[in-house]
């Protein structure tokens, strides 16, 4: 539309329009360049390091040593993130059910909605300190303590994404269910939640991806180990993110290599989760 009119536009205005358009294109480029650098470095430095032995082997006792081993961190990341998901997703979905099905536009629901947005902005390091003060001081550093901290981070993300998914469920379904004589709780459990499942799952997966990459909440809550610890409630643990942080601060080449390897592993994990989340969302919302 504007191109038709440009013939009557003065050169100065046309120039200003060109400059503005060019800087808008430039801003996309400015964001793409560092991303490309980060990803290429990750692949270049990490690809030679990550193999089966790296993914399963123990972490060397001294960070001076070269050689593989991030097995305990892979296990720790899966364990803590899994436990956090098991806690945060059901609680978050139920909270979203309250907001969208019961509280609706009420004042209490408004307050909860507002505060869960605020809670999403609480720095992850503060969540770590919080779990340290209420849990670790009494029960010690365990994988479970880390899961609690990650769960606190995930909770507001799950709540808001699940609420959005519930909002998309057409009201006719609720009314039809009610007309058949179903109680509200039954309508929610057997009609509304299944209909919103795709949105809920994709939101939850995005929260999991976020939690899997978090480091700060784990530093004070899970400690560290060099051998795999399968026990969630017993003994210290470690994670990929924590190992990247620890090894990146070492001056030794072996440690830096392990950090790159762990970073590549972590990124692949996060990207797979993100991709699955988008797939789930796209696959099911179109219909």
């Amino acid at each position: 539309m504007s191109t038709l009119l440009l013939g009557t536009v003065s050169p100065a205005r046309r120039l200003r329009n060109r400059l503005a358009t060019a800087s808008i294109w430039l801003s996309v480029l400015v964001a793409a360049i560092p991303l490309a650098f980060v990803v290429t470095y990750l692949v270049r430095r990490g690809a030679g390091i990550v193999d089966w032995k790296f993914l399963t082997g123990d972490i060397p006792i001294s960070s001076r040593l070269r050689g593989p081993g991030m097995g305990p961190a892979v296990l720790g990341t899966l364990l803590t993130t899994g436990a956090a998901t098991a806690m945060a997703v059901p609680l978050g979905v139920l909270a979203a059910v309250y907001l969208n099905e019961y509280g609706k536009r009420g004042r209490l629901a408004g307050v909860i909605r507002f505060l869960s947005d605020v809670m999403a902005g609480v720095p992850s390091v503060v969540m770590g300190l919080f779990i340290y003060t209420v849990w670790v001081l009494r029960f010690g550093q365990t994988g479970f303590a880390g899961a609690l901290a990650l769960g606190c981070l995930m909770l507001p993300i799950v709540i808001r994404s699940a609420e959005t998914a519930l909002q998309l469920v057409p009201n006719e379904l609720r009314e039809a269910s009610a007309a058949l004589g179903a109680r509200p709780s039954r309508t929610i459990l057997t009609v509304v939640l299944p209909a919103a499942l795709a949105g809920v799952v994709s939101g939850a997966l995005l929260a999991v991806a976020r939690a899997a990459g978090e480091t700060a909440p784990l530093l004070f809550t899970i400690g560290t180990v060099t051998e795999s610890n399968r026990h969630l409630f017993d003994g210290t643990n470690t994670s990929l993110s924590a190992q990247i942080f620890i090894n990146a601060r070492q001056p030794f080449e072996g440690a830096i290599d392990r950090a790159w390897g762990a970073a590549l592993t972590l990124i692949v994990l996060v990207f797979v989760l993100t991709a699955v989340a988008r797939l789930v969302a796209r696959r099911f919302t179109v219909r």
Partner: protein, 323 residues
Amino acid sequence: MTITTAPPSPPARRPLTSPGRAGWSDRAFRGVSLGCGLLVLVILGLIAVSTTREAWPAFSHDGLRFFTSKRWAPSADVFGSLPFVYGTVVTAIIALVLAVPVSVGIALFLSDVAPRRLRRPVSSLVDLLAAIPSVVYGLWGVIVLAPWISGVYDRISDVTSPVPFVSTLFAGPSTGRGLFTAGIILALMVTPIITSITREVFDTVPVTAKEAAYALGATRWEMLRAAVFPHSRAGMTGAVMLGLGRAMGETIAAALVIGSSPQITAHLFRSGDSMAAVIANEFGESGGVHRAALIGLGVELFALTIVVNVVARTIIARGRRNG
């Protein structure tokens, strides 16, 4: 969808709406879901109470000086948090100065400028930026960016050395780790947040307003200035505030590249420290009052980010209602 394919349930023997057990379970379900909602309030309250309690030894040890003193010397049992507040604010401002124009540019690109084919790839690019964990940015920052950028810093300080005020800001020498490097890394991390919220706001601009501007003969840039920006001012402010909150709380990447020296300096290329970074870096080796002081920094950070987030969310909510 599952509902349509589900087998019809057998006709109920008793009416589903009968009082008694069924009514009780209904109320219980409502109660449980309300409880989960209230969990948010409980957790926020618990964070404030429990961290303040554990930080109390430091607050009572240093009194008001904890917030006003410039000296942080764990070995001498002196804990003043001001250098970290300074570093947190300065790095966050650098991050915003770098990230806001880029984010607004990308948001405009996605809402009004991009050819249809480019829209999805560019919005995936923003998602990718957001998906990379902070610690990975930190690793890249400390191993790749810092050594390279110290050369750039040196050149900038050479060029600007005759200019009175600017030469102080950009004075060398630099190791590459410092306030400005931390600002760059933080900018990468807040860009997706600011972009996604400003884009949401730009999408709510009425098409009629845009078309009216075009009909009056406006170029695209004039249309953006006349129709899009005035409509979006509140939402954009809120988005920037949210980015500020995120930048202030970002921990691991800053901990790796900020240089870790508790000083208040106007030299942006030299090392500093931020609240979140010092907590991550010193917590493991701390004990006694030192540990309490680190938790105290956490309390201060919590309070700051809560204020920033509440203001941001209020602005965004108000903008949404008016828009």
